[in-house]
Symmetry: C2
Subunit: 423 residues, 2 copies
C-alpha cells in the first residue's frame, strides 16, 4: 500500500439522514487519481472535544493527507478552526486580508458582512488560507508528514478549492517526493462503454490478465453504462504496459466505447451534433421528458437541441406526432413501428435534421408476457434515415427510464460517428 489519506466530516446532517455524503465520494475518487488511497472516512457530531480527539487520532496514524470538511461557517457550531488549532497546539491568528476577501464576497452579492463572520478570518498559526469560493475560507497546514486541509462542507465550494488549490499542492509534493524516493503514484484510465453488461464485458476481455500488477482491470456499472478501469504504477515502463492493455480493451469493445476523458453521453452527442451542424428533437413516451432534460443539462445545448414532444397519451402520438392510428392500434404503442413514426413525426413537426424517440414499458405495472417491463424501443432519424433499436432494460421504473434515455443518446452517438463525416 502506498500513501494513504483520511477524511473527517463534521456536521449532524450527515448522521441524521438529512444529506448523503457526496464529498466523500468526490474526494475518494480525486485522491485515488493521485495514487492516494483513503483508509478512513469519519462523520462525526459537531463537538469541540470530539473533534480535537479525532483530529489528533488521525494525525497519529500519519496519513499524507487529512481532509476535514465542514465546520468553517460563522456560527457557534462551526468548530473546525478551534479544533485544529487545539489538536496542533497552535493559537488561532487573525488575518486581515482574509477578512477583506470575505467582506468582498458579501459585497459582490449586494450584502453587508455580519460581525459573526469575523471569526472566519481566524486560522491556526503557520497555516495558509484558501480564499473563499462561497463565503467560507478554507486553510491548510503541514504537520509532520501530514498535509491537513480544512474545506467547507458545501459541495461546490469544496470542489472548487480542491481543484484550484489542494490538488496542485499535492501534485507539487508528489513531484518532489518522486525524486527522493520510489513513487507510489498510480495511473488510472477509465474507459466508458454503453450497451453491454458487466458479465458480457468480462467474457469479451477474458483473454486479458485482470490481475497484472502493472495493469489491473476492473469494472463498475452505472446507469449510463459499464466503466472499465485500468490501474497501474505511474512509472514509464508500467505506463507502456497500461497503454498496450488500453489498446487491447478498445479494440475488443469497438463502438461500445463512448469515451475515456470523463465526457458524459449528453455532452458527446451534443458535441457531435454541433460539429456536424445538425439539429435534433425528441419524441418521448416512457421517458416522459427525461431525454430532453438530459440534452438540456448541457449549457449551450440550444445550439442544436430545438425541443420535443412528450406523447405520454396515445392521442398525442396520433394528433401531434401523426403516428398512424391503425399502426398504433395494430402494433401497440410499444412497438418498432410506433417508435419510428414518433421520431419521423417530431422531425417533421420541428424541422430538425435528427430525432430520437422512446416508447416502452417502464413499470411497475403495464407489463405483459409479450411486452414485459423493461422492453423499450428507441427510434432515431439521422438526415432522413430511420433506425429503431429494441432493448431489454433491467431495474425498476426509475432505472428503466434513466437507462432508456441513455440508450437513446448512445444510439444517436453511434449513428453520428458512423454516418456523418466529421465536421
Amino acid at each position: 500500500m502506498g500513501d494513504s489519506a483520511e477524511m473527517i466530516f463534521s456536521g449532524d446532517e450527515l448522521l441524521r439522514g438529512d444529506t448523503t455524503n457526496t464529498n466523500q465520494l468526490y474526494l475518494g475518487e480525486r485522491l485515488l487519481d493521485l495514487g492516494i488511497f483513503t483508509t478512513r472516512a469519519l462523520s462525526v457530531t459537531d463537538d469541540l472535544e470530539t473533534m480535537v480527539a479525532v483530529v489528533r487520532d488521525s494525525l497519529a496514524r500519519r496519513p499524507v493527507v487529512l481532509v476535514l470538511s465542514g465546520g468553517l461557517g460563522p456560527t457557534e457550531d462551526d468548530l473546525t478552526r478551534e479544533a485544529v488549532a487545539e489538536a496542533l497546539g497552535r493559537p488561532l491568528e487573525h488575518h486581515d486580508e482574509l477578512l477583506e476577501q470575505i467582506r468582498a464576497r458579501f459585497a459582490s452579492r449586494g450584502f453587508v458582512m455580519g460581525d459573526s463572520n469575523r471569526k472566519q478570518a481566524l486560522i491556526p498559526r503557520g497555516s495558509s488560507a484558501i480564499p473563499p469560493t462561497g463565503t467560507a475560507p478554507g486553510f491548510y497546514v503541514q504537520h509532520d508528514r501530514t498535509l491537513l486541509v480544512a474545506l467547507p462542507g458545501v459541495a461546490w465550494e469544496l470542489r472548487q478549492m480542491w481543484e484550484e488549490t489542494v490538488e496542485p499542492l499535492l501534485k507539487v509534493r508528489r513531484a518532489r517526493q518522486a525524486i527522493e524516493s520510489v513513487s507510489n503514484a498510480q495511473v488510472v484510465r477509465r474507459i466508458r462503454t454503453f450497451g453491454i453488461g458487466e458479465s458480457a464485458l468480462a467474457e469479451i476481455l477474458a483473454d486479458l490478465d485482470w490481475h497484472d500488477p502493472e495493469a489491473t482491470i476492473g469494472t463498475r456499472a452505472h446507469l449510463d453504462g459499464v466503466t472499465v478501469i485500468l490501474r497501474g504504477p505511474a512509472s514509464t515502463e508500467a505506463k507502456r504496459k497500461l497503454d498496450s492493455v488500453q489498446q487491447q480493451v478498445l479494440a475488443a469493445l469497438g463502438d461500445r466505447v463512448y469515451g475515456d476523458n470523463g465526457e458524459e453521453l449528453p455532452e458527446i452527442a451534443g458535441r457531435l451534433l454541433r460539429a456536424a451542424g445538425l439539429t435534433v428533437a425528441v419524441a418521448e413516451s416512457c421517458t416522459g421528458g427525461l431525454l430532453g432534460k438530459k440534452f438540456t443539462d448541457v449549457a449551450g445545448s440550444s445550439d442544436y437541441f430545438l425541443g420535443g414532444v412528450t406523447a405520454y397519451d396515445d392521442r398525442v402520438k396520433t394528433q401531434v406526432l401523426d403516428v398512424p392510428a391503425d399502426v398504433l392500434a395494430e402494433k401497440g404503442a410499444v412497438s418498432e413501428e410506433v417508435a419510428a413514426a414518433m421520431a419521423e413525426g417530431v422531425t417533421r413537426l420541428l424541422g430538425t435534421d435528427c430525432a430520437l424517440s422512446t416508447t416502452g414499458v417502464a413499470g411497475p405495472a403495464g407489463g405483459t408476457e409479450a411486452k414485459p417491463v423493461g422492453l423499450v424501443y428507441i427510434g432515431s432519424v439521422v438526415k432522413g434515415v430511420t433506425l429503431v433499436e429494441q432493448i431489454r432494460l433491467p431495474g425498476q421504473r426509475d432505472q428503466v427510464r434513466e437507462r432508456a434515455a441513455y440508450a437513446a443518446l448512445d444510439l444517436l452517438r453511434r449513428r453520428l460517428r458512423r454516418e456523418v463525416p466529421a465536421g
Copy 2:
C-alpha cells in the same frame, strides 16, 4: 442528549469514490425516528487488525447501538465475522440451520451453493443469526450496554433486515427500558413547505420558542422546499405540546405547506388532478423536459398527464405552441406574456383541462441585468383561467431547473386546492 448510535462501514468502494454511502443516510434517519442520535459513522478499509481496533474503540464509548455494514460475504476480504469475534473475545461457531438457509437461498434461484459460502454460517458465540435476505446472513449480539448488529453492505438486504429484525428488537428494548427509566424516545414531525426561504420562514415563526425541549423547531432546505422539523419526547403530555406547536406552524405558514406525510409534490399534484378528474399538459422551455419527467416519475401518472411540448428553440414556441411572434419579439422569451401563451398553447394542442409552462434563464450564460440568471416565469392554466408567477431562483443551472420544475408543480397544487372543489 439521549441514546447514541455508531456505525462502521467496511469496504474500499466507499473510500475510492465508487459508491455513495446511502446506508449511512438510511440508518441515520431510521435511528433518529427511534430517538437515537448517531454520533459517529466511520468508513474503513477491509483489514482485520483495523476492524478489530475500530470495533473495540466504538464499544468503549458504550453506544446503545453499533451497526456494522459490509464484510459478510464469502470471500477472503469479508472480515466482519472474524473482527467482531476477536473484538468481543468470543470464538466463531458454526450454525447448521444457517448453512441450510443459505443453501436454500441459492437453490431458490437455481444455483448450487459453493464451498466458500460455508464460512457465512459462522457467527460469534452468543450472537443470534439474522437469516439472509439476499445470500449473506447478518447477526446481532448484546455486549454490555451495546447492541452490536452486523448487516450486509447491499442496500436492499440491509434495509430488509433492519426493518424486519433490528427495528422491532430496538422497539422492544425501548419499551422495556421505558418501564425501568424515563424514556428517551422522540417523536418527529416533518412539515413540508415550498416557496419560502429558511430565513423568511424563521421570521414568520419568530414568536415560537425554537428551543423548547418538549418541541424543538428546526428547518432543512431542499430543492423541493424547506422542511420544518418538530421534535419532542414521546410522552403523552409532550405530544400534546407538539400537536399545539404543529397547529401554530401550520396556521402561520398557510398554503405554503404542501404536506406532512412524506408525499412528494409530483404525487400531490397527481392526486389532486385525479380526484378532480382533470388532465394536464406541460410546455417547457428552461426545464427542457424535467417537469414532464417529474409528473411521470409517479407510476400511474398516465391517468392525468397526457404529455407536453418542450419548446427550447423560439421557433417551436411560435410554430407548435402558437405563441404570437410579435409578443415573443417584443417581450422576449423569458416573460410573463410568453409563459401565459405557452401554457394556453399546449392546453389547446393537447386538449387538456390544465397546463403548466416554464420559461427562464437557467444559466450559466444568457443572463442580463433586466433578466438575470435564476429569473423564471411559471405559467398555468386551470379550467380556462391563466395565471403566471414570476420567481427568482438561487443556485446553479441544475438547481435553477430543479427548483423551477418544483415551483410549477407547487403552483398547480395551490390552484387546484383553491379553485377546484375537492373531488
